[in-house]
């Protein structure tokens, strides 16, 4: 308890507070603009945080993450255009509500539900994170190796539609992670005689390219020359019926649980949490046919579910150093930027910072209630009147400044551009991008752990499998990789049985 009291007093100081308020507003704005997403925003933000206090930097990450998850609901409800992938399920009932003249009510429900999901998720992070970190004190190099491999395998298999391509993407990330001077032997690898490659490819440079350029190119392709009209963004105030808010509580409880469960799983993101929550609410409803036709429970389930995923996805990231999604990976990058080593030692060596970040996740969820109401929504919705074509050079400019300030090297701009174009085409052929980033982050940890384990065991590779935890993790990894195969065989058998 003292841990959190101390963390709270650190967070409730001037600059972290300003950072949280400003970034939550910025997050709502980013989420509200289709084509922009939290990953892109955080990736652009990170290079600028080098000189900041870590609590200020992490407060900004928390605000953008939570704010944008809610912000995505604004165009989802008003225009049936999901602002972020996680708000797709919000369109199902949000837009029909807006169509019936209840846009304002739908936005209020989205705001409340996002805040509730975020708060419950932050509490889960604060309770489960330290417990998990305690367990990992028993981990040695072999366990860390398997944890890294398990994390990548799970993300590779679960994140895209094709598990083989997902794993292939993770291996590419691992190979990129080996570029530069090998920290154990001092040997230069894959540097092609270029001195600027001795430090390897910068994670943030590749990340900005992979995650920010493809949406920019898609915006250019869409070529929106007009933006939205004022009439399309007009809101009429609809009051809540008596007991309407109370009726949402069971949905919030169910969706929060689902969102937390999904958040902890590596690879499953807010969109999956939202879909599962929406389906669960529909199944539990006395009137399932009203879903898809403007049922407020549908909006509440989707928004609560996707926000409940946020802080929960930080549980394996902070406790194990294994990011469950790309935003969690970015948080780990933010920690690394400030010289902190993610993993179990983080809780013991930097309790103030970890506790502070968890508090910031909680506070920014609360801030959605204060800052994300109908008034703010009205203001942010107005930005959608800006023609999309003007956003293209604006984002390119921000990408350029974000990447350039990391090392002050023009070559990084080319790396970003090439990574972005590659990312654009890879996504089109169903190669997911998240495993590439996770491979880059976890690769060095996996390599160093396996080599340390082999050094300790004097080259005996069975050391990687003989300890109970490492053996369990190895089996879990094999199961994760084999699971799509097992599913395919079962599906074939089921089809064969049916045709018989």
């Amino acid at each position: 308890m003292e841990f959190y009291t101390q963390a709270l007093s650190n967070v409730l100081t001037f600059w972290p507070l300003i950072a949280m308020i400003g970034s939550t507003l910025l997050g709502v704005f980013i989420g509200a603009l289709p084509g922009l997403n939290p990953v892109m925003a955080i990736a652009l933000l990170l290079p600028l945080t080098y000189s900041m206090d870590p609590l200020v930097a992490l407060g900004m990450v928390a605000g953008i993450y939570n704010g944008s998850m809610y912000g995505g609901a604004i165009p989802a409800i008003l225009l049936r255009i999901p602002g972020t992938p996680a708000s797709i399920a919000t369109t199902f009932d949000g837009f029909p509500m807006a169509d019936k003249g209840e846009a304002s009510k739908a936005l209020k429900i989205a705001c409340w539900s996002s805040a509730v999901g975020g708060i419950v998720s932050a509490i889960a992070l604060m309770t489960m994170g330290p417990l998990l970190a305690r367990v990992t004190l028993f981990f040695g190099p072999a366990e860390y190796f398997w944890i890294a491999i398990f994390g990548m395998a799970s993300v590779g298999v679960m994140v895209g539609s094709d598990p083989i391509k997902g794993i292939m993407a993770a291996v590419i990330g691992l190979l990129i992670g080996t570029m530069g001077i090998d920290s154990l032997s001092g040997q230069a690898r894959f540097t092609f005689g270029q001195t600027w490659l001795l430090g390897g490819l910068d994670l943030i440079v590749v990340l900005v390219g992979l995650y920010a350029l493809p949406p920019v190119l898609q915006l250019a392709e869409k070529c929106d020359l007009k933006g939205l009209s004022a009439a399309q963004l007009k809101l009429t105030n609809t009051p809540f019926n008596k007991g309407e808010i109370r009726g949402l509580i069971p949905t919030w409880i169910r969706s929060s649980g689902i969102g937390i469960g999904v958040g902890i799983l590596p690879g499953a993101g807010g969109n999956i949490a939202a879909f599962l929550s929406y389906n669960a609410a529909k199944n539990a409803s006395d009137d399932p046919d009203s879903f898809g036709k403007g049922n407020p429970q549908g909006v509440a389930a989707a928004e609560c579910g996707n926000n409940a995923d946020n802080a929960a996805s930080m549980i394996p990231a902070l406790a194990l150093g294994i990011p469950g999604n790309v935003v969690a990976a970015l948080v780990l990058s933010a920690l690394t930027i400030h010289g902190l080593q993610p993993g179990p030692q983080l809780f013991h060596q930097n309790p103030t910072l970890v506790g502070g970040f968890m508090m910031e996740m909680l506070i920014t969820s609360l801030l959605i209630l204060l800052l994300g109401g109908a008034v703010a929504t009205r203001v942010f919705a107005q930005f959608q009147r800006l023609p999309g074509v003007l956003l293209v050079p604006s984002i390119l400019t921000l990408m350029c400044v974000g990447v350039y300030v990391i090392n002050g090297r023009p070559v990084d701009l080319w790396v970003m551009l090439l990574a972005g174009v590659a990312g654009y085409f890879l996504e089109k052929v169903n190669v997911p991008l998240a495993p590439i980033i996770l491979g880059m982050i976890l690769g060095p940890m996996a390599e160093q752990s396996v080599r340390r384990a082999l050094l300790i065991s004097r080259g005996d590779a069975t050391e990687l499998l003989t300890r109970p935890i490492s053996a369990t993790l190895a089996v879990a990894t094999v199961l994760v990789v084999a699971w799509p195969l097992i599913k395919a065989v079962r599906r074939k058998r089921a089809i064969a049985t049916k045709s018989d």
Binding site: L174, C223, L417, K428
Partner: protein
């Protein structure tokens, strides 16, 4: 066709995997074994993708680019921008980008683009150069106006 796309993708990754494994053979000790193993795995996975496509790939092609002209225009202008950032300076090249790219994409309201460019660049200048004091490529035109930006 989707089949051909996957065969090409698989073969590209086979090529990358073989190249990585081959390069890793010149690295001594465990520092070479790890990337070599990764190269071999990438080769196998790429081969699997290609073989799977040969055996039962769909014949319907995925749309790789929705609007090729717009996409290529954006990439080419982005590349020109990256080339000009250092010689012209960050603010000059970014301002030109803010005007040129929308017009190249078919936006015909020049005054609107100019106002957005001016407002946006002012905000960027205040945030990055004044508030955060980030060092950015200096302006080639600044000395002409007696400025030290």
């Amino acid at each position: 066709m989707e089949r051909r796309q996957d065969i090409a993708l698989g073969l590209i990754f086979v090529g990358l995997g073989i190249a990585a494994a081959w390069m890793a053979t010149s690295y001594s000790g465990a520092g070479g074994t790890y990337p070599m193993v990764l190269g071999v795995i990438l080769t196998l996975l790429g081969g699997t993708v290609a073989l799977r496509a040969v055996r039962k790939g769909a014949n319907k092609a995925r749309l790789l680019v929705d609007a090729p002209v717009k996409m290529i225009t954006a990439v080419v202008i982005a590349a020109i921008y990256v080339t000009l950032v250092v010689p012209l300076g960050f603010y000059t090249s970014s301002f030109l980008l803010m005007l040129a790219l929308p017009i190249a994409l078919g936006f015909r309201q020049g005054i609107y683009a100019l106002i957005v460019a001016l407002v946006f660049m002012t905000v960027v200048y205040l945030v990055f150069s004044v508030l955060l004091e980030k060092p950015l490529p200096s302006e080639a035109l600044a000395p002409l106006f007696g400025l030290g930006v």
